[in-house]
Symmetry: C2
Subunit: 204 residues, 2 copies
């Protein structure tokens, strides 16, 4: 998230999925050795953010994401769209994609399976929980998906990596979260170079 | 600042100057022993936020604030309005108030003097710099005053104390900051109970 609250910049498009200036939100992770290794690149740095990246999927057994984060543009699916991540996506677990358009399960290399859920967030969460068994479910984003889960009171913990960037517009993370708003309790702060990692427990 | 970016809640009024829910933004400071002592109260806690409060005025020789932060409602001055802080305000130094309405200097107990500046932010800054001599000038707020100084490129350092609160509306801090936006470099993060203190250097 930018310091002014955006997880994507203005004028998002298929060519520019993070909007104008949005790429800079992810600089802290892309420069890490752990990220480069995961993406078949060499080099990179090790710093306080490395542990944050490594723990992101630590006890995670299933992922949920919105249609926009999976990509492929709006409307019915083009059958050749298999996400942004190529034939071997970095999830290696079941991923549940929220969508209004039904589609058959997509089994990728490396154990990632994309399941397309058309009957809402609670159904997606139930399916993800069953798939995750004793492990956690990670709601990756985007903002709209996270807001729906927050507003429905279905989130236990929130992790935000905030960078000192002003995007001035785009997709705000903390908006449309319901009334009364969810109550966050600050549980951990980690300072990395050019980023601060914020962790909150959501009070019930 | 709230996690969703507001320094005051919605529906600000003379009775409710911080807007609905806005008081909770300052809970972290009001519970400190240092704050209670400054305001003639006993008790309070000492924690990682204590040093943040103490350094706030450490090398400060003059303060700038907007009309709304000084208070007294909009329009011409009522002569009996002397700010929110009583006869002995906690500044003990020259304070420059940005306003459209001229008013004579107001000398308070304890060395605080309120100067009313009607010819804009650069004039206020020049006067404050002269008054501060070798010390720093602190731009206290509110959001509108800070935004004007940011947009004009007149800020060296930004300190934000962010609390895990969603206000859902009100006065946003990081808005109207000019185009291109100022570039912040994260220089220090301090975790306090229920608050994270963020410090940024503004790049030129």
């Amino acid at each position: 998230m930018s310091l002014d609250g955006y997880v994507a910049g203005p004028n998002q498009s298929v060519k520019d999925p993070l909007g104008v200036g949005g790429e800079a939100l992810h600089e802290w992770v892309i420069e890490l050795a752990a990220w480069k290794e995961q993406h078949g690149q060499k080099g990179g740095v090790v710093n306080a953010s490395s542990a944050i990246m490594e723990e992101m999927f630590e006890n995670v057994g299933a992922v949920i994401m919105g249609r926009n984060m999976f990509g492929g543009g709006p409307g019915p699916w083009k059958s050749d769209w298999k996400g942004w991540w190529g034939e071997n996506p970095p999830y290696h677990m079941p991923v549940f994609v929220l969508t209004h358009h039904a589609r058959d399960l997509l089994a990728m290399q490396g154990g990632t399976t994309f399941h397309f859920v058309t009957d809402g967030i609670e159904s997606a969460l139930n399916q993800a929980k069953r798939a995750a068994a004793a492990k956690d479910v990670l709601i990756m984003g985007g903002a709209n998906a996270i807001q729906q889960f927050l507003a429905a009171g279905l989130v236990d913990q929130v992790n935000i990596s905030m960078v000192p960037l002003m995007l001035g517009g785009g997709e705000r993370l903390l908006d449309n979260f319901g009334d009364p708003p969810p109550r966050f309790e600050q549980t951990r702060i980690v300072e990395g170079p050019g980023v601060v990692h914020l962790r909150y427990r959501v009070a019930r």
